[in-house]
């Protein structure tokens, strides 16, 4: 967040008057000043930190949805089960495919391509494309899911176009569901990358690219040697945020395929949901959730690292 780092206010010793200067005025002043943080702090502790702590706890128990009120501590049993569970390993693999295809390759590359084309395009085309791509992003997740479901269904738009082009059509949601949901995620998420890269490209001084152009550097070379190095931090930030967002996609896949058929589009969030609710294994589902959370936390730390170097 650039605005943050640049406009750090000058912080002086002065502040609003605080009542009471008798016992421990310094401590009391600090407390009074910190008071407004407390509602947010309470909410965060109760409803965010609490569940995370609870998550770390029940991941090591055999808590079930129905039946027994008691649950017992089982150590690393859930994790051991997970790594021997083919359905889990399948979900890990599909999550990787989904993330690489839709976030790293799809959203990121398409977003960058759109942003750099927008630098050169005429204004009406730029505005129109921006509006359409952003609309896809602003639509509620479930609506996006339905639109793409209709698009990929056997009797949907994609096959109609393929027929018209006399290309072989197929039932995409059945044969290649993970590809279909990846495309859906690209459709829905590209706007974010486009906005980030547009902002980054606008900050590159015109003189630099023009100088390279006069020196005869080709478009591809300018991209590779000038543009990409200059926006590398935005690329890092964007990749991190895209990946984190993609890791937690649930509604889109749920609406389009429910993770099926036969688990062929079941990423980790859907696997976690199925274990916890359809199979009633809350402990096991939570162990999977904890793994997902740890991966997310790791990415989050890398992201913070990137932000720090930017300051």
């Amino acid at each position: 967040m650039t605005a943050a780092s640049h406009h750090a206010p000058v912080k002086g010793p002065s502040g609003p008057p605080t009542s009471g200067t008798t016992a421990g005025p310094h401590l009391r002043r600090s407390l009074t000043r910190a008071l407004p943080v407390s509602p947010a702090l309470i909410l965060l502790l109760l409803f965010l930190a609490g569940p995370i702590g609870y998550c770390a706890y029940i991941a090591f128990t055999d808590l079930q949805l129905t039946g027994q009120a008691e649950s017992s501590f089982v150590g690393f049993e859930n994790f051991r089960t997970a790594f021997q569970d083919e359905a889990f390993l399948n979900a890990v693999w599909l999550t990787l495919v989904f993330t690489v295809l839709s976030s790293l390759i799809g959203q990121n590359t398409l977003g960058l391509a759109l942003a750099s084309l927008m630098q050169r395009a005429s204004k009406p085309v730029r505005t129109l494309t921006g509006a359409i791509v952003i609309t896809a992003w602003v639509l509620p997740e479930v609506v996006a899911g339905f639109l793409l479901y209709a698009f990929f269904r056997r009797e949907g738009t994609l096959n109609a176009i393929l027929d018209w082009l006399q290309l072989p059509s197929q039932n995409w949601l059945f044969t290649l569901p993970i590809l279909a949901v990846s495309f859906a995620n690209v459709w829905r998420g590209t706007a974010f990358s486009m906005l980030v890269y547009s902002a980054a490209l606008n900050e590159i001084p015109k003189e630099i690219t023009e100088a390279a152009q006069v020196d005869g550097a080709s478009g591809r070379r300018r991209m590779w040697h000038i543009t990409l190095p200059m926006i590398r931090r935005s690329i890092g930030t964007n990749l991190m945020l895209n990946t984190l967002q993609t890791l937690s996609v649930f509604g889109l896949i749920w609406v389009m395929t429910r993770g099926g058929p036969g688990g062929k589009s079941q990423t980790l969030p859907l696997f976690m949901y199925e274990q916890a609710f359809q199979n009633s294994l809350i402990g096991y589902g939570t162990a999977v959730a904890l793994l997902l959370l740890l991966v997310g936390a790791l990415f989050s730390l890398v992201y913070m690292r990137l932000l720090r170097t930017e300051v």
């Binding site: 406009h7 609003p16 509602p39 494309t129 932000l307």
Partner: protein, 285 residues
């Protein structure tokens, strides 16, 4: 023709041909992105809508007529409004209060607190929904609007605090110092001076939180059970579940009614902040 003018000529013509190529590329992507959107628009006014993009068999508003009832549309939308409105209000108030000391006073705790907040903004909330469900069952908050509102607010707070603090840092401190000399308290100067000066910032935080919650499916799907309490993001699935044959025209019409508020809100803030690039810039890092 001097070499110089020739060079400017070729540069200019190269530029215009590059513009044409860029326009063509953008239009191709726009067309591809447009297809699913075209489906929802055309199907909503089509009396025989199916799953592909086609010209309607005759314009009709029957689909909208059929869904604009209490059961199908108004109750879920009202539920959405209560959930998202309540949670947004809570988020914005808590975020503004919390951002003020973080932005204005120096403390050893600021940095660790902000780093924790930043860390929390990028945690995958989806991952903690199963434990949240289990926890809510234990403390009897499951299937309650207030429980869902609290959780929504807490999940949105890290980002809201982070944004709010950054907007607040942009408001110069001199005006408040004058107010402090006149004996105004922190709370008074926050409400009377700082917040009015950062109106666009507050608007962004509000709209962003609201839009995120309005579209969220997983949280209410997990934490609410009674059909009467379901917001539109969950009730939309009814078109598939219980009503037998799917009425695609009605589904499309409902999608439009449900999506319109967030699109309007987005247009509102992007206009105010000069182009759609405000949020991208704000999250840019």
């Amino acid at each position: 023709m001097t070499p110089r003018t020739r060079m400017t000529r070729t540069l200019a013509s190269r530029r215009s041909s590059r513009r044409l190529a860029a326009d063509a590329g953008l239009l191709a992507v726009a067309a591809a992105f447009c297809l699913p959107l075209a489906w929802v628009l055309l199907s909503s006014v089509d009396s025989h809508a199916d799953l592909r993009v086609k010209a309607p068999d005759g314009l009709t508003l029957d689909n909208f007529d059929a869904i604009l009832t209490d059961d199908i549309t108004f109750t879920p939308l009202l539920n959405s409004l209560i959930l998202c409105g309540g949670a947004t209000l809570l988020t914005v108030v808590c975020a503004a209060l919390a951002a003020y000391p973080l932005s204005r006073f120096r403390s050893r705790l600021n940095r660790p607190f902000l780093l924790t907040i930043l860390f929390a903004t990028s945690l995958p909330i989806t991952a903690i929904m199963v434990p949240v469900y289990a926890l809510f069952v234990q403390v009897d908050l499951i299937d309650t609007m207030q429980g869902t509102i609290f959780f929504f607010a807490a999940s949105q707070l890290p980002f809201a605090i982070w944004l709010m603090k950054n907007f607040m840092d942009g408001v110069p401190k001199e005006l408040e110092e004058a107010a402090w000399t006149d004996g105004a308290s922190s709370l008074q100067s926050l409400i009377r001076i700082v917040l009015p000066l950062m109106g666009p910032g507050v608007a962004v935080v509000t709209v962003f939180s609201f839009v995120m919650m309005w579209g969220n499916f997983f949280v209410p799907f997990m934490l609410l059970l009674t059909p009467d309490q379901m917001p539109a993001s969950v009730s939309i699935n009814e078109f598939f579940g219980n009503r037998g044959m799917v009425a695609y025209g009605q589904l499309a019409a409902f999608s439009i009614v449900y999506s319109t508020p967030v699109i309007l809100l987005y247009v509102l803030i992007s206009r105010r902040l000069g182009g759609g690039f405000a949020l991208g810039g704000a999250v840019k890092g």
